[in-house]
């Protein structure tokens, strides 16, 4: 009997020492979790980079993946509100439910959330996010904050590996900081002229790089732009000398292209997530590509 208990204890300790199964909702978080977790984690990403993360179809096969997770890392601020609650319910995994240590809202890492509505909001403003703009990972400084938060949560779940998680988060920060300085320097030329967005998505990027934005073609989130609004925006853009209309790959690029043509600007498609475009296969590579495209379009 004693030997049986010892064997069971050994098996249990072996299982606990296995890699931490981490499910991330979006590719940016997946890349950060892989960097922090190293060989001590298995990463699964629910939303491929080429999908608009607002509208991922909540396929049961995704719930199945979530059902095996030790840790769920999600963007929060209601980016995934249309599909993640369904997957969590369907996953039947008590470890990743709200209130458990396997449930990590990465927005809790933020020091400053942009566009938190003040006063009354309504759907007349479109599909607004009531807790603030959720696209914070387009500022790499937020990526560093999220990496440290992930490290702490992974350390809580695997205390024996805590030092490794924290060391890798520190190393990631050390790697990103000089890159951030370089990206800020490269943004000098795009700062010369205000940008127009296809839809509200790039506010953190602009706030970080000091870019000016004149407005968005799709100014009410989730609502098709009215011809009148586009007319007004085109007039303003011509007057302000806008040279770039920036869009995510999943935006309605035909509408964006027409608006850009009327403005006399270039439609610049930027990677809005890791793996959303060729060449954006990592978090740093995504910013490399963003800065390259912004500066190239400005020079053209």
């Amino acid at each position: 009997m004693k030997h049986l208990l010892l064997a069971l204890a050994f098996l249990a300790s072996t299982a606990a020492a296995g890699p931490l199964k981490v499910v991330c909702t979006v590719t940016d978080l997946g890349w950060l979790a892989a960097e922090v977790g190293g060989d001590d984690v298995e990463i699964i990403v629910l939303c491929p980079g080429e999908y608009d993360p607002h509208f991922l179809p909540a396929k049961p096969s995704l719930a199945r993946k979530l059902g095996k997770a030790d840790l769920l890392c999600y963007n929060g601020l209601e980016l995934e509100v249309g599909w993640l609650p369904v997957l969590i319910d369907k996953a039947r995994n008590t470890k990743v439910r709200d209130g458990q240590s396997g449930h990590l809202d990465c927005a809790h890492a933020l020091e400053h959330i942009l566009e938190v509505p003040e006063g009354e909001i309504s759907r007349a403003q479109g599909d607004v996010h009531p807790h603030g703009n959720p696209h914070y990972l387009l500022d790499p400084r937020n990526g560093i904050l999220v990496a440290h938060l992930m490290a702490e949560r992974m350390a809580e779940l695997r205390p024996e590996l805590a030092d490794g998680f924290r060391d890798r988060a520190d190393a990631l920060e050390a790697d990103l900081l000089p890159r951030i300085a370089a990206w800020e320097g490269a943004a000098a030329s795009p700062r010369a002229h205000p940008l127009v967005h296809y839809t509200k998505q790039w506010e953190y990027l602009e706030a970080w790089l000091g870019l000016a934005c004149l407005g968005a073609v799709e100014h009410r989130p989730g609502i098709s732009p009215s011809p009148r609004h586009v007319d007004e925006l085109v007039t303003q853009a011509k007057y302000a000398g806008v040279t770039q209309l920036i869009a995510a790959p999943w935006n309605h690029l035909d509408i964006g292209q027409k608006a850009a043509d009327r403005m006399g600007a270039s439609l610049v498609i930027l990677p809005a997530a890791v793996d959303s475009q060729d060449g954006a296969d990592s978090y740093p590579a995504m910013f490399d590509l963003i800065l390259t495209r912004l500066t190239t379009a400005e020079e053209d």
């Binding site: 491929p48 080429e50 999908y51 608009d52 607002h54 509208f55 179809p57 909540a58 396929k59 049961p60 096969s61 719930a63 199945r64 059902g67 209601e78 509100v81 249309g82 599909w83 609650p85 369904v86 319910d89 039947r92 995994n93 008590t94 439910r97 709200d98 209130g99 759907r123 479109g126 599909d127 989730g222 609502i223 098709s224 790959p249 999943w250 935006n251 309605h252 690029l253």
Partner: protein
């Protein structure tokens, strides 16, 4: 009376929530969403007021919240017009409404071992159409196979449901339930429970497409007037209903609200102990998003009660339009969906009476809107 009760209960709940909010915080209030369907329609032949005129087809209020670390609760109240043939033509003509508690259940959130547990009142998991709320229907009306054999959108039952995934290479889930058996297809006076199961299999064909093939079965005490039958002696015995359904979905991933195609087909085979031999029904639906805000719907269906020729049908039970012995339906609609929270639908439906002359055309204009919390999108 029931409507008065529901409104009083809702008012009381609202007052309690407000009082709670004033005293502490609104953070613990449930997520509330309200959906309403406005419907204007005209029929070519029938003069039944249910199919001619304008009305609120249904208004639904839904509350959702975690109860505690162990349960998550859902409550849905629905209000819809009283049908003239149920409560008197005069009352319907004066715009009477009736309400119902459609859902009131808790789901276990701390159930170990990958099990799901649901306790309370909910739609039975039979096929693809029965679990849908009215505002989720692909067409204004349910397929005639569903409304004839499974009840007129009322297959909600109180009981317990357990589900667990089957360890297969694809997504596979088995759900079993036991319920009170008080829906219109069951004998409400019986003490026998109803029970059944659903077996779901879904295959990822690609990142963008899936194929689901599923089967359903339910068993319960047979309603004395099942299938609107009017025998000299009320029906008795048991009712089994078998069903199989298949759904293909493709959603273009390259852009937000890009093209999408949903194809669904379902076969329903009721086997009551008495009254009819081998009734059968089917429907097929195609929904295609051809532009960001536009969906096209195409549907067909049929049902055969398989009745002996001398059997009387109770036309007053549902109205003469749906009192066919055997019929086919063909539907086409165009849907304008300007946002996730509203939609306008223009629809034409053709019903062919295969054993009589009660053919008809039905033209409908439906407005669908939702206010309140953001709805999650079930796949």
């Amino acid at each position: 009376m029931r409507l008065v009760f529901i409104l009083a209960a809702a008012t009381l709940a609202s007052a309690l929530l407000t009082a709670s909010a004033d005293a502490q915080s609104r953070d613990f209030n449930p997520a509330i969403s309200v959906n309403a369907l406005l419907l204007g329609r005209v029929a070519d032949q029938t003069t039944d007021p249910a199919y001619n005129g304008a009305d609120v087809q249904e208004a639904e209020v839904r509350f959702t919240a975690d109860v505690d670390p162990y349960w998550k609760a859902n409550l849905t109240f629905a209000v819809h017009p009283e049908r003239g043939h149920e409560h008197g033509e005069e009352e319907a003509a004066h715009g009477g409404y009736t309400g119902d508690l459609e859902q009131a259940y808790v789901e276990g959130t701390a159930i170990p071992g990958g099990f799901a547990l649901l306790l309370g009142k909910d739609y039975l998991p039979f096929g693809k159409h029965v679990p849908l709320h009215t505002h989720e229907f692909p067409f204004v009306d349910a397929p005639i196979a569903v409304s004839t054999f499974l009840g007129d959108h009322s297959l909600t039952e109180v009981g317990a449901r357990v589900a667990h995934e089957i360890p297969l290479p694809w997504y596979s889930d088995l759900e079993a339930y036991a319920v009170d058996g008080k829906s219109e297809i069951f004998d409400a006076g019986s003490r026998d429970p109803a029970f059944g199961a659903r077996f779901v299999n879904m295959f990822d064909l690609s990142m963008e497409s899936t194929l689901e093939v599923s089967g359903s079965w339910l068993h319960g005490p047979l309603a004395s007037d099942y299938l609107q039958l009017h025998p000299e002696e009320p029906l008795s015995g048991q009712l089994d209903i078998w069903g199989v359904d298949a759904t293909f979905k493709w959603i273009d991933s390259s852009r937000t609200h890009g093209p999408a195609l949903f194809l669904t087909a379902e076969i329903i085979l009721p086997r009551p102990d008495q009254g009819t031999s081998e009734p059968s029904g089917w429907y097929a639906v195609a929904q295609y998003r051809f532009a960001r805000q536009w969906w096209l719907g195409l549907g067909a269906g049929g049902m055969n009660r398989d009745l002996p020729p001398d059997t009387d049908l109770d036309e007053d039970h549902h109205g003469e339009l749906f009192a066919w012995r055997e019929a086919r339906e063909y539907k086409l609609n165009l849907n304008w969906v300007p946002s996730e929270f509203s939609a306008v639908r223009l629809e034409v439906a053709r019903y062919d009476d295969w054993q009589g002359d009660a053919d008809d055309w039905l033209f409908s204009l439906q407005m669908n809107f939702t206010i309140g919390s953001h709805p999650a999108h079930v796949y």
